[in-house]
């Protein structure tokens, strides 16, 4: 159990910025996830913490002790790799014992510790197997066991589930979280899968272009995105043009004033965002409730995918809107081009400044 504090971390590759102004504070025992698209710097950050990359500037402290200049083998952080990195020439138990042997532990203690950890990851029957006799999921359990057996201060995981198939990914995700909570080990987890991040984490840190966009609890990330990038990357979102008319804000496609939605004053151009699952579709004979903003649109495509339906419409301004809701036969049977009303509840509307990472207003 240990807290992690990163201050002013910066990493340059030649002239390219890989990480900039990274300030992170992770409380002891937390599950902290770095989330972002590929190339956002999340893996670079993780590998810098592990000591495989050298930072250009900044400090990394575990429990207040600075480790940024220690060589990788003396940092005492366990790492789980995307490609498992299970040693192919060693059996499962020798893989798990590897780190303990480096620590010159007595062979009796090693045997006991290995058995205990294999029990935790449910691999006891496979102790004598060679890695090539194991499935991908089992190999990753070996990778996990090998990392936690040394009781590291911090556990680092680099997209550990991304090479597994969808069902196994969900199963193992629950198990990872269970083991992490049982051991109470501070964990930094890298993923590009937002569902994984939201499901497992205490804190989600969204990164883009080497910069932290927002670090908060999963619910806050989803419901209170700090900027436009977070709003579009985590979950789906519809973005609609907003005009200023005589100092008032107006949703262009609905020609409706939305001044009350802004939490901060601003004078630059801005956009409104609304989540697909908050929109409702009304056909010609229905009427939107008065608490909603009615956006007239035409149906582009409706797809019924079982538990829900996805409705795509296009406004008179040419903005594409997506709605996800309970299947409604009336809507599903609408031919393309049919006029409909998309109703957006006023308090679901969020405003952002223009631009890819425009701040929330």
């Amino acid at each position: 159990m240990a807290s992690v504090d990163i201050t002013g971390l910066r990493k340059l590759y030649d002239q390219t910025v890989a990480l900039e102004n990274i300030d992170i504070s992770i409380p002891s025992g937390a599950f902290y996830t770095l989330l972002g698209p590929s190339g956002c710097g999340k893996t670079t950050l993780l590998r810098t913490i592990a000591g495989f990359h050298e930072q250009t500037a900044g400090r990394i402290a575990i429990d207040g002790e600075h480790i940024e200049n220690l060589p990788a083998h003396r940092r005492d952080v366990g790492m789980v790799f995307q490609d498992y990195a299970v040693f192919p020439h060693l059996s499962v138990e020798d893989n798990v014992a590897f780190g303990l042997k480096q620590r010159k532990m007595s062979s009796r203690d090693i045997t006991a510790r290995v058995a205990e950890v294999l029990e935790t990851v449910q691999l006891t029957p496979y102790a004598k197997r060679m890695p090539h006799e194991l499935s991908g999921g089992q190999q990753q359990r070996v990778g996990l066991a090998r990392a936690i057996v040394i009781k590291p201060k911090v556990l680092l995981m680099d997209e550990p589930l991304s090479n597994l198939d969808a069902k196994l990914r969900v199963d193992l995700r629950g198990e990872l979280r269970r083991i992490q909570q049982e051991l109470g080990i501070t964990t930094i987890y890298v993923t590009h899968d937002q569902e994984e991040a939201l499901a497992m984490s205490d804190i989600v840190c969204v990164m883009f272009q080497g910069v932290i966009q927002q670090a908060a609890g999963p619910l806050d990330i989803y419901l209170k995105p700090a900027n436009r990038f977070v709003a579009s990357f985590v979950g789906a979102n519809n973005f609609l043009a907003v005009d200023r008319q005589e100092g008032r804000l107006v949703l262009r496609s609905a020609d409706t004033e939305i001044d009350g939605q802004a939490t901060k004053p601003s004078d630059g151009p801005l956009v409104a965002a609304v989540r697909p699952e908050t929109l409702q579709v009304f056909t010609g004979d229905g009427t939107a409730p008065s608490s909603s903003i009615a956006i007239p649109a035409k149906i582009q495509e409706v797809s019924f995918i079982g538990r829900e339906m996805e409705v795509f419409g296009i406004t008179a301004e040419g903005e594409r809107l997506k709605v996800v809701s309970r299947p409604d036969p009336k809507v599903i049977n609408l031919p393309p081009g049919s006029p409909v009303i998309f109703a957006a509840p006023r308090d679901e509307l969020i405003l952002f400044a223009e631009g890819e990472t425009g701040a929330r207003l």
């Binding site: 592990a50 083998h73 790799f81 990195a85 020439h89 590897f98 780190g99």
Partner: protein, 553 residues
Amino acid sequence: MAGRLLPRRVDFWTGVTILIVAMLAVLLILPILRVLSLSFVDADTGAWTLANYVEVFTRNYYVKGLKNTMFVGLLGTLGACLLGIPLAFFAARFHIWGRAWISTLAILVLVAPPFIGAYAWIMMLGANGFVTNAFQYIGIETPTIYGAGGIILVFTLKFFPFVFLMTQTALNAVNKSFEDAAESLGCTPLQRFRKVTLPLVFPAVSTGAIICFVLAIADFGTPAILGRGFRTLSTIAFSAYRSELGGLPTMAVTVSMIMMAISMLALLAQRRILSRRRYASSLTNLPVRQHLTGWRNWAVHVFCHGTVLIAMLPTFVVVYTSFLKTNGPVFVGGFGFESYLRIWRTAPDAIFNSFLFSLCAVLLITIFSALISYVIVRRETAASGAIDFLMMVPYLVPGVVMAIGFVTTFRSGAFSGISVATLLILLYFIRRLPYGVRSTTSSLRQIKPSMEEAAINLGAPPLTAFVQVTIPLIIPGLIVGSLMGFITAINELSGTLILYDSGTVTMPVQIYLAVLDGEFGLAAAFSTVLLFCTGICVFAVFRYAENRESTFV
């Protein structure tokens, strides 16, 4: 490669990189620079001069040698391509009975002692050769084996496996869809081969050809044995060195520089041509082998098996000759072990020396291959890029040149205390190191870096991670590379001839001396011993290159 010379954080591998660079500087760069600088020195006065180069380019003796070298080099390469390309195409595109056998024989031809071909052909087609005599008996005059024609014949039969093996590998990797597309667009099979298949494998063909050319112009044994007045640069450099003994070998090194320049120019030309031809190909649609019928089938089989059998003929002749009954240098009819007994009586130390020097060199090759390939593959510094580049140099420097560099650098001044045996070991080591590095590097490239990172992350210092994780994973490549290093080291002739003294005679030197003395029985027995050792190594390479890989992938 990143711009930085060494990584900022200094660790074990920084030290290793410095060690490797220092080793290459002393054993590779220093001798070459020494040769280079000596070529600008006047032998009598010791002053700087260009006169040596003027002499090489004006005196008929040297100009003729240069022309001869280019002539046999180019025609030998052409011959190797004319045999190698069709052979590769037939083996890759048609069902050939005994294809594995053909490849095995081609590899054996490749690794057989380099000068066996030359003197075995003398035994067959020389002035008193058995084929010559047989034809003379029925009244037919055979063309002479001595001179340019014989050298080109030996080069062709000795070097075609390079073209064959490289082209075959490339042909097996050509996506069949390209050929199908050409056919559906209306190409006849011949047009398709000329316009699609051949351009696609051209990079491989040209690489094979350039290896042939570089080896052909560097070859010493073949022109030395078959030349009879037809001199090439390597024999000229050797005799210049011999006649300049005691003084400064300025003419020998000047000729050496010309040889190196030719090799480098050839390589640069090939790089330049290839830089405009880069074909990315996905292997979705593997080529298929066609069944031939009728006379075509017969012709293709006769060509394939005939080529490798003729190329192996010298080896058969040598082994056969070694078991002939002899009395001194004279064959007296019947079979016997006299030749082997004479080895034992006259020169057992040659066998001992060959093994001692080669094994010591291979030990060094193995250690440095592992370290160098790690630095090349895993460390992205300017130094590792430079090491990668330097690993190509020993291929380009003829043995005679390297050995003269060693003599002029290490037999004088601060280094003069080094024994001849040590020098020979170091010479074999530096000349054959690239074989080990190449094989180990390709093995290491298949190992994911996360393996070592995992070990380091678990608390293993860099050296421990390397020994406990990296080495076990690259063992197959390391073994194959070391075996290749051993095969080529134990067969080394040209460099040894410059350096050896009475206490450091090796088997190839004994064979060379025996051939010059007309002691064919003795030469054959030595050659057979060498062939036997080489054969065992080839067998081991086959085993390790196949079985071990599948257990780790």
